[in-house]
């Protein structure tokens, strides 16, 4: 197992493997996204309560749920960097941070817009939106720390520690925000997590959308990690050959 694990760690092996997988991932994303969007926009019936705005759910819920996964993923990559000193894990951790910030940002925007027609204001201190907001600050903190430290591996370890500390705090922040919020406002009249009470023709397209956005997440992560690999291995021979093979752009 150990050989496999260390082989997995070599950036070049990851780069070549990802070049094989990328076309398939793109195909899967396009198919899933097409079906999901078509279904969500055109076929899902109007919701008796929120009308057409239920279609916003098909963007907000997938993006929000994956943004919640970004921080733990960054913490795991950070732990691997700290414990096994694997360069690739740090490259993944460095690439996850901006993607996580993007996901959380979009989740915030779509959540606020969706909430607007319930609370009548663009921003309401709803529990979910607030914990997304704080998570967004945590991501910005990691990115700021990453760019502040010049030397590559000191930044890697420092961000790993911050990612781990942050990942431990995300659930605490989530519950304290929810605990703080629900006591003031009655739980919002309709539930944002749709899977439970809604009929299948509503949550089936949602599952498709979630998987589509998930594949997109994997693609975006791979693309950024590949750039990171090229950047850090630019002196090694295989990158030089690769550059010479590329047609001059």
């Amino acid at each position: 197992m150990w050989l496999w694990f260390s082989k997995l760690g070599s950036p070049r092996w990851f780069y070549e493997l990802s070049s094989k997988w990328l076309p398939w991932l793109y195909a899967a994303m396009i198919v899933l996204m097409a079906i999901g969007l078509f279904w969500a926009l055109l076929i899902v019936p109007e919701d008796y309560q929120q009308g057409q705005t239920i279609r916003i759910m098909y963007v907000h819920v997938p993006v929000a749920s994956i943004s919640l996964a970004c921080f733990p993923l960054m913490a795991v990559a950070g732990t691997i960097t700290l414990v096994w000193k694997m360069k690739l894990a740090d490259m993944v951790a460095k690439s996850v941070a901006p993607i996580g910030a993007w996901f959380t940002g979009l989740a915030l925007a779509s959540g606020a817009i969706w909430g607007d027609q319930i609370w009548g204001t663009w921003w309401a201190w709803d529990a979910r939106l607030t914990s997304l907001l704080i998570q967004f600050f945590l991501f910005i903190g990691v990115i700021a720390l990453r760019s502040a430290i010049e030397s590559q591996d000191a930044a890697a370890k420092a961000c790993a520690v911050l990612a781990i500390v942050g990942a431990i705090n995300v659930p605490i922040i989530k519950y304290s925000v929810e605990w703080w919020n629900t006591l003031h406002q009655p739980a919002s009249s309709f539930s944002m997590d749709p899977v439970a009470p809604n009929p299948p023709e509503v949550w089936v397209p949602l599952l498709i959308m979630i998987s589509a956005v998930y594949v997109f997440f994997v693609i975006a992560l791979i693309l950024r990690t590949r750039n990171e690999i090229l950047q850090r291995e630019r002196r090694s021979q295989w990158v030089i050959d690769l550059v010479s093979r590329e047609k001059s752009v």
Partner: protein, 236 residues
């Protein structure tokens, strides 16, 4: 009488002595630099007195926000004085001596955090009733506020120590410290401020303290470990 160094029994005693010596050293340094003692207190006073100017002098208005104002100012005051926790030691090399000590770094970092809390956290707690009075906080909420601050401010110091340990090697560290530390301290702020406001409405606040205690326990065990790891990285 020179204590044997590596005998196991010896290390437990000398760990305690190293802990006390570091604690005493930091307090002595703070006492010698008088203005470092005043900074957190003055900052706390100024920030709190800014709020009535910003909101309104009307007592009813102020008493509603007083708990939040005191808590946010306490948070910012402890954040402000975090910076010189490791900065001076990093610059003159004592931090390296700290890392090279055979005693577990956990206790030494804990000693420094406690010293920092005594310098910046405790004065804020002691001073908070005066400021609460200024903000027309209802009298029955005083004790709750002092108690929540007493439990909350150490957590701010402990989490802050992680942030400052991560950024000790950097040049521009003020902003990054805030961006890293403040999100981590939001739970304490939420629960603390809520406990005080809930007491004002006469609601039970038993579980508020349970939560605060739990977070303090977590911070006490986890934060120094993270700070030690961060220090080893920054001094690398």
């Amino acid at each position: 009488m020179n204590k044997p160094v590596s005998s196991h029994a010896g290390t437990d005693i000398s760990t305690w002595q190293a802990f006390c010596a570091t604690l005493k050293r930091d307090l002595v340094i703070a006492l010698k630099r008088k203005n470092d003692l005043l900074n957190p207190i003055m900052f706390f006073l100024i920030v709190v007195s800014l709020f009535p100017l910003g909101i309104s002098p009307d007592p009813v208005e102020l008493s509603k926000v007083s708990a939040g104002v005191v808590w946010v100012s306490a948070l910012l005051a402890s954040m402000l004085s975090l910076d010189n926790l490791y900065r001076a030691d990093y610059e003159d090399g004592s931090l390296e001596q700290l890392l090279l000590s055979p005693q577990p770094l956990y206790f030494l970092v804990l000693a420094k955090n406690i010293a920092h809390w005594l310098i910046s956290g405790l004065p804020v707690v002691v001073l908070s009733p005066l400021l609460a009075y200024m903000l027309y906080l209802p009298s029955e909420a005083y004790w709750t506020m002092v108690l929540t601050l007493l439990i909350g401010t150490p957590v701010l110091s402990l989490f802050g120590s992680i942030g400052v340990a991560l950024t000790v090697g950097l040049g521009s560290r003020g902003l990054i410290l805030a961006v890293i530390v403040l999100p981590l301290s939001t739970p304490v702020l939420i629960i603390g401020a809520k406990a005080v406001t809930d007491v004002m409405f006469g609601l039970p606040i038993g579980n508020h303290f349970a939560l605060l205690g739990a977070i303090l326990a977590l911070a006490l065990t986890m934060a120094p470990l993270a700070s030690s790891a961060a220090l080893r990285i920054s001094v690398n």
